[in-house]
């Protein structure tokens, strides 16, 4: 809800932080994969319905992110440190931005990417990573009473 109301209205430093992506990644890392996929699909659908373009981008990105976390769990990757969420948020931010840029290229027939756009991506990425580090302990604490990710996903 904040992703389509408060954050775009505030626009810290002129960009909209991807708080929803950060939360989905952290939820996926701290809960069962089946629950995380459900949260990702519901959250992504709400944002897609509120957004203006490329319907399915947010659902697709969020579900994909939770499935990647599920695969990492099954592969036995160590998920407790800050490195994995930071890498996932970086990958998610870049992939989603490239998808939006691609849809613009397709629709407007030109390449709109400029230095200003790259700067915007870099700024958004930095804010998203700071949010990840700030929210990681909070989400882990809030979900610590829930089902273990290893129970269902691993």
């Amino acid at each position: 809800m904040l992703q389509v109301s408060l954050l775009p209205a505030l626009r810290p430093l002129g960009v909209v932080p991807n708080l929803a992506l950060v939360i989905i990644v952290l939820v996926a890392l701290n809960s069962a994969t089946s629950q995380a996929v459900l949260a990702a699909a519901a959250g992504g659908l709400v944002i897609d319905m509120a957004g203006g373009s490329a319907f399915g981008l947010w659902v697709g990105a969020f579900v994909l992110m939770t499935l990647v976390v599920g695969l990492l769990v099954r592969a036995g990757v160590e998920l407790d440190g800050p490195l994995v969420p930071l890498v996932l948020v970086t990958a998610g931010t870049v992939v989603m931005t490239l998808a939006i840029w691609s849809s613009l290229v397709t629709r407007s027939g030109g390449l709109p990417v400029s230095v200003a756009w790259s700067g915007r991506l870099a700024l958004e990425l930095v804010i998203n990573l700071i949010l990840t580090l700030m929210l990681r302990p909070l989400i882990a604490w809030a979900l610590s009473g829930g089902g273990s990710r290893h129970e269902s996903g691993g």
């Binding site: 992703q3 109301s5 897609d48």
Partner: protein, 265 residues
């Protein structure tokens, strides 16, 4: 919970999500949209209002040092606008008189409906907002939307009680526009983070910094004469077919709260 049961749940959720996305792309999500408009939109409206207020407060804080200068500039502009308004009233009265004498229809002011911004585009690149008025209030795709006297965009998608606006600053936005002072016409396009650009202006036409840019009203449902912004700079090169001009608009996405949809004459 065993692994196969968890896998089954994941597959079901992914399949349902894929079906909903397919429905959304094909435009068959009507009932889901209705639920969305009556549950998510009212709650988001509260957050949007809080965000717009906080955004405006932050902007004001950052501009405290330039308030005196801004105030002086606005007072000058106000005096100038009052003078123009008086002259325009005189011209309008003459125009109506002449039209009546010639037996032509007298054009009235376009009808408008007020609306509140309830949702914003969730990313940094696309520039869309959703308002709380839709087809029930006679809002239709293609209509112009104004805020504080300037064009902010046009309606692209309408539901029963909500409508989506593509803002003039969206990179995909374009509309026929003209320099109100010289009559030079062109295509106005949105430019993310760089204001607007009035493109495809003929080399023989004149455009000057400070000129007002308005809608040209060529086709569609957008009437002519709606203020868009003012020319900031002109880019003329000798060996190209067209010249272009940077156009500055007064509106800021974060401060958008109330808008007017121009329904037509």
């Amino acid at each position: 919970m065993n692994r196969s049961r968890a896998n089954r749940r994941i597959i079901i959720v992914v399949a349902v999500a894929a079906l909903l996305v397919a429905g959304g792309i094909m435009g068959t999500l009507g009932p889901v949209r209705v639920v969305f408009d009556h549950t998510v939109v009212p709650v988001a409206n509260g957050f949007a209002a809080a965000g717009a207020t906080a955004g405006e407060a932050l902007t004001n804080l950052s501009r405290v040092s330039s308030l005196a200068r801004d105030n002086a500039r606005l007072e000058r502009e106000n005096a100038d606008l009052r003078q123009r308004l008086a002259a325009d009233a005189e011209t309008r009265s003459d125009n109506e008189l002449l039209r009546r004498q010639l037996g032509l229809d007298v054009a009235g002011a376009p009808r408008r409906v007020g609306a509140e911004v309830v949702l914003f585009s969730p990313d940094s690149y696309r520039q869309f907002v959703t308002i709380n008025k839709g087809s029930k209030s006679s809002v239709a795709p293609g209509m112009a939307v104004m805020s504080e006297g300037v064009l902010i965009g046009s309606i692209v998608d309408v539901q029963a009680s909500t409508a989506r606006i593509m803002l003039v600053t969206d990179p995909e936005f374009k509309i026929a526009a003209k320099d109100q002072d010289t009559g030079a016409s062109g295509i106005l396009r949105g430019q993310l983070g760089n204001g607007l650009v009035l493109d495809e202006i003929g080399q023989t036409e004149t455009v000057k910094p400070g000129d007002s840019v308005t809608t040209a009203g060529l086709g569609g449902q957008v009437p002519p004469g709606l203020l868009i912004g003012s020319v900031q700079s002109v880019n003329t090169r000798a060996n190209v077919v067209f010249q272009s001009a940077q156009v500055e608009t007064e509106f800021r996405v974060g401060k958008l709260r109330f808008v007017d949809v121009v329904l037509g004459q």
